[in-house]
């Protein structure tokens, strides 16, 4: 399902799908691709992707133009995102990745704000309650995938604002 997403002008520009030989032009091109990937994933609340999915996604496949970014170039865009701290490979074989259109620290901040605002410091939550509970339905982090959530909580843990603990059937977190 592709929701109404406003593609940037570059997406309609055929050469955007050819890795540019000019170094300066290529830098601009890669920056535009990175922006596009992050905006797209943010709109669709997509937290991770496989390389296969990426190849077939409208993101790298402009169906109307019939132009697609070749897989070697997709890899270069992904590497660029990784260098900027917006992507993390999930497995050694680089078949899928986390796409962090919001940094784990930022997610952590949002979660902690909600906890404090609702006066729930010193409470314990299961991971499920945080991402799928009724109470968080209106929050931006509702629906967050588990890996990204754990990263966010780890960031809070480092700031001594939370502690990841084991609960009866999995993991939970205590906020301070």
């Amino acid at each position: 399902m592709v929701m109404s997403f406003e593609w940037s002008w570059q997406y309609h520009f055929p050469p955007f799908f050819t890795l540019q030989p000019n170094v300066d032009t290529r830098q601009k091109q890669l920056a535009a691709w990175c922006s596009l990937v992050l905006s797209f994933c943010r709109l669709h609340k997509q937290y991770s992707m496989t390389v296969m999915e990426a190849q077939e996604s409208p993101l790298f496949n402009n169906v109307k133009l019939q132009w697609k970014l070749p897989v070697e170039s997709i890899q270069i865009v992904l590497e660029e995102l990784r260098k900027k701290g917006n992507l993390e490979w999930l497995y050694k074989n680089k078949s899928s990745f986390l796409i962090m259109w919001r940094r784990p620290e930022e997610w952590g901040k949002l979660i902690y704000q909600w906890v404090s605002k609702s006066g729930q410091n010193n409470s314990v939550f299961t991971l499920y309650e945080l991402t799928s509970g009724e109470d968080t339905e209106d929050e931006e982090f509702h629906g967050l995938d588990e890996v990204t959530l754990l990263r966010a909580l780890q960031a809070l843990q480092q700031e001594h604002k939370a502690e990841i603990i084991t609960v009866s059937d999995g993991r939970g977190v205590k906020f301070f």
Partner: protein, 142 residues
């Protein structure tokens, strides 16, 4: 690098706020000609019904200029088109296109059918925004 006169006009109007009414495209042309005379690297290239304004001192000679003018119709140009329209040898056409790529004025498209297409983003954004406005107009007044 390169920008169409229309695009430049839009940007200037945006920047001037309530004084926007008093800057015409002719005013812009006059101003740019003055800047050009001062040797600041500005250039004006007539293309089709409008002008391309060059804002960075890229080395552009007559060959480059005439190819830019050829690109105005579709936003891109190819070696074949240059050879057919301008009666040039392949090498001369390639040389100019390589230069435009090197100056960052053109982007390469290797997925176009047949041969490589060389696109000018400056011309494209103009064509693209025209298309969008036409579409928006059609949607607003079916």
């Amino acid at each position: 690098g390169l920008i169409t006169l229309e695009e430049l006009h839009q940007q200037v109007l945006k920047g001037r706020g309530k004084f926007a009414q008093d800057v015409s495209q002719d005013d812009l042309i006059r101003a740019i000609k003055k800047l050009k005379a001062l040797g600041t690297g500005f250039g004006i290239i007539p293309v089709g019904g409008t002008y391309l304004i060059q804002s960075v001192p890229a080395e552009l000679n007559m060959d480059h200029t005439v190819v830019l003018q050829l690109a105005e119709k579709n936003g891109y140009v190819t070696v074949s088109e240059i050879k057919a329209s301008l009666k040039w040898e392949t090498e001369r056409a390639r040389h100019v296109l390589e230069h435009l790529l090197k100056e960052g004025l053109a982007w390469l498209d290797l997925q176009a059918p047949g041969e490589a297409h060389y696109w000018l983003p400056a011309l494209f954004t103009d064509l693209y925004s025209q298309e969008i406005s036409a579409e928006e107009a059609r949607e607003a007044f079916p």
